[in-house]
Amino acid sequence: MTNALKNAKTFTSIMISLTSVSKWFGAQTAVDEIGFEAKKGEIIGFLGPNGAGKTTTMRLVLGLLRPTAGEIKVFNENPLNKRLAVLPQIGYLPENNPLYGEMKVLEYLSFIAKVKNLKNNDEIIELSEKLDISEVMEKKIEELSRGFKQRVGLAAALLGDPTLLILDEPTSGLDPIEQDKIKNLIKNIAKNKTVIFSTHILSEVEDIASRLIIIDQGSIVYDGKKPKGRGAVEKLFKKVVKKT
């Protein structure tokens, strides 16, 4: 068992640690000296206006981008140098949920399961029931509605029972009914996992998150407990974010 895997399974507190992390794209600063830690069992709502740096931060955590400065540790390992050790324990739903449209749902999930070294399809069957996609398993992904596509992406992220889930705008573009379904799903699957999900829908954070990180113009402007009460998140957001 690799160190990262051991850390993921047994680490008692810190799953992710970012220290003074910056990312520049040319002259443009996407993320500016941010730092936070994510502990086991936390559900962190990553909130911010469009272009604030949410997706960049998530990509940095996954090792999909190299930080210009600072240090990132996932399960106490560098996700860039030890990505093959770290990634088996991470489930990722990218922004806009890119999928192979020409594949059938079952084919796609079997492919992901094989790459994740899962021995059989039991987990696919279990997840398809949990995520309510059993009826579309033989359909091509390109034929599915946005809500079903999102659930397929979520199932792919959950395969292998990862300890860390990173979900980038999981409810983006969905109608309110589908949004509620996805929110409930995240709440149910989040038990015993660390979840970081980005959104710009404030009510989502109120419903799901245990902790709130607000990012604006590449900097973290709030990191703390979710304020209690209806509309409290919105009030806080308006207070700390410059352009709303």
Binding site: R59, L64, L65, R66, L87, P88, Y92, P98, L99
Partner: protein, 238 residues
Amino acid sequence: MLALYKKELQFYLNNPIGYIVIVLFGVFANFLFVKDIFIYGSASLRPFFDILPWLMMVFIPAVAMRSLSEEKRNNTIEVLLSLPISETQIVLAKFFALLTLVAIGLMLTVSLPVSLYFLVTGTGARIYIPELIIGYLGQIFMAAAFLSLSMFFSSQTKNQIIAFLASTITLFFLIIFSTDFVASFLPFIVQTGLTYLSPVSQVEGFSKGVVDLWSLYYFLSFIIVFLFLTIVDVERRD
């Protein structure tokens, strides 16, 4: 890696485009040889092997152009890179899937030596089987080299058409380096150097049934260099 190899191969085999490209390759290759078969006057596939680089110059970029550019355009590369599979495995799985597809296309031309065998039976001429096998082996090496170059261009852009054109034009120049037409314009030293760089001159030995170690080294180096450059691009985290 095997899972990705199967997925890639299935994409082409479950897709009409894959079949159309393979069948067109087979049809053109067969037609271009058969139309002059009685003019050649020998029981050899060498004239056929001379035609293949020109066909591969178009067909290989056509099948390889989407390999990485489409992943980048649809951002599915992010899905792959978030899975526990290395960048080298991603590139190699795609490369071998495409090579399998090209090998299937080449298998469609096996009808040619079979037809040739029946044509020359009773005439005293005969087909030399080892020459034939080595000839096809040379074509596989050349196809692999063309594929590695086409995959490299596919990794450089999100636009399949640009990848196709860049690959085809580069292959065109590599092929014409070995032609008499180009040689007639250039000083001997330059001509010799350029001829050595041309995959066509390197595959000539194979077509004659000779496994030239230098040619083997050339093709392996060519393939490794372009696959390495492709892997470096996939590993980029800018």
